[in-house]
């Protein structure tokens, strides 16, 4: 009886199996339809090129940003901006807010007025040009030019170890007055490459408080934009580029920042799911002045009044969208916290 019953049920089982297979194939094909577009990155090598920011007029896209995007601008008289800053400077710090990641992300996008820049980011063409290459102690250093339709051209330094693929990668964001070379030397860039990470460090433009940063920040804030939005967007371009590299394991991208670079990373990690671990040494309250009187630079990249209500929420670990290590502010480099940083990234990016 049990044998007969078993024989009779076999065709039903086969039929059921067939349906499961059909459902899986159909599911796969619909997944394919919805699959994200691969990042639109063109990588070329042209060792005949050089990068001189002034010669290339690389600040021009910042200077013309308000005029180039009038449909997203919110122009305000400078006096109104200053009055708003004066008002929030007199306020006590706000309480920590309990927000979902989606709510936090929406508030950041709104405060930075960056939504239109994020839309179609992966599909927007990004050209990356290797214009210099050298090799030392098993690490290849490449200087890169990033060229994007919204923010123009900027330079980055990539340190690539010779370890076998796939590699974890780390984006290293410098602070004011610094360079990728300084980040490599004092902020663990070279050490991380030696430890087996591909390290990518941009040269942020207009990050010296006086002159261009002051002038551009005033113009952007008056127009309803923020220099910090440019830095965050450029950080996401770095991540997009890393995701396009066959050598990089896109699930194992970390980010390490110092000072203004930490402020940038603290926002960027909320706007992408592509960063898996973060080390930060600073949380600004977003009403910062680069240098107060007597020099009197009332705004700079870390002046984003719309983020002030979130200023105590960001340092709260409950708000972190990813594994995060907060270390003391590193006035003179990360040497003192090198072991903790290397251990943290090893735990989250290499195991």
């Amino acid at each position: 009886m049990s044998v007969l019953s078993s024989c009779a049920s076999r065709p039903k089982r086969l039929l059921a199996l067939l349906w499961v297979c059909i459902a899986m194939v159909s599911g796969c094909s619909s997944d394919d339809d919805a699959a994200p577009v691969p990042p639109n990155v063109t990588l070329v090598t042209d060792l005949s090129q050089t990068f001189d920011c002034a010669e290339r007029n690389c600040l021009a896209p910042y200077r013309s940003f308000v005029a180039d995007h009038p449909q997203f601008a919110h122009p305000r008289p400078w006096e109104t901006v200053l009055a708003e800053l004066t008002a929030i400077e007199a306020e006590p710090l706000p309480p920590v807010m309990t927000l979902s990641q989606e709510e936090l992300r929406a508030q950041i996008i709104d405060a930075l007025n960056i939504g239109f820049m994020l839309e179609g980011l992966d599909a927007r063409p990004l050209q990356v040009t290797i214009f210099a290459e050298s090799e030392s102690a098993g690490i290849t250093a490449r200087r890169l030019i990033f060229a994007d339709p919204l923010v123009g051209e900027f330079e980055a330094l990539q340190l690539e170890p010779s370890e076998s693929d796939p590699l974890p990668a780390i984006i290293g964001l410098h602070g004011h007055f610094d360079t990728p070379a300084i980040f490599a030397q004092k902020f663990l860039g070279t050490d991380l490459a030696a430890a087996g990470y591909l390290v990518l460090m941009p040269q942020f433009r207009a990050m010296t408080c006086v002159g261009p940063e002051d002038e551009i920040s005033r113009a952007l804030i008056s127009g309803g934009f923020h220099l910090m939005a440019m830095r965050v967007y450029e950080t996401l371009l770095l991540e997009k580029y890393l995701r396009s590299l066959p050598r990089v394991d896109s699930r194992r991208i970390g980010i390490l920042g110092h000072s203004g670079g930490s402020s940038t990373a603290n926002l960027a990690v909320h706007l992408t799911d592509g960063i898996a671990a973060q080390v930060t040494d600073y949380y600004v309250d977003w009403r910062d002045r680069c240098i107060p009187p007597p020099l009197d630079l009332p705004v700079h990249c870390e002046t984003v009044p719309g983020l002030f209500p979130l200023s105590t929420t960001f340092p709260d670990d409950r708000s972190a969208p990813l594994p995060r290590l907060s270390i003391p502010y590193a006035e003179n480099g990360f040497a003192a916290d090198a072991d903790a940083i290397l251990d943290f990234f090893a735990t989250h990016l290499t195991r």
């Binding site: 004066t86 400077e89 007199a90 306020e91 006590p92 710090l93 602070g175 004011h176 007055f177 010296t208 408080c209 006086v210 000072s259 600073y282 680069c290 240098i291 107060p292 009187p293 007597p294 020099l295 003391p328 502010y329 006035e331």
Partner: protein
């Protein structure tokens, strides 16, 4: 003067030290470990000032910035959380915001103590 009525706009005009004090007071930095936040803020400002090319500044402004830089160096040292910060005991001892004059007096004493320890008890 009760600290609650102190406005940054009126204090900042008197220089960075007062601005930092306003920052400290307005944020209730009388709690046990909050001097570290003041230290970080001063250290960030100091690092930026150290990187500025002051030789390119007009004479009067350069002199004021040099004085500010010296004040910040002292403040950073006074609040260094890795050392024996002179302000540590102050911040720990307080359980309420101080009038700015009183806090300024403490800070001035700390700065003098660093610069001229022999002259300060």
């Amino acid at each position: 003067m009760p600290c609650a009525v102190i406005k940054c706009s009126s204090i900042c005009n008197h220089g960075v030290m007062q601005g930092l004090l306003a920052y400290a007071i307005m944020r209730g930095m009388n709690a046990r470990d909050d001097y570290a936040a003041l230290h970080v803020r001063a250290a960030r400002l100091l690092r930026r000032l150290q990187r500025l090319d002051l030789d390119k500044m007009p004479g009067g402004l350069r002199a004021r910035l040099l004085a500010q830089r010296a004040d910040l160096e002292a403040l950073v040292e006074a609040t260094d959380p890795t050392g024996e910060p002179l302000l540590k005991s102050l911040f720990r001892a307080l359980d309420r915001p101080l009038p700015v004059e009183e806090l300024w007096a403490w800070l001035s004493w700390s700065v003098r103590a660093i610069r001229e320890p022999a002259k300060v008890n």
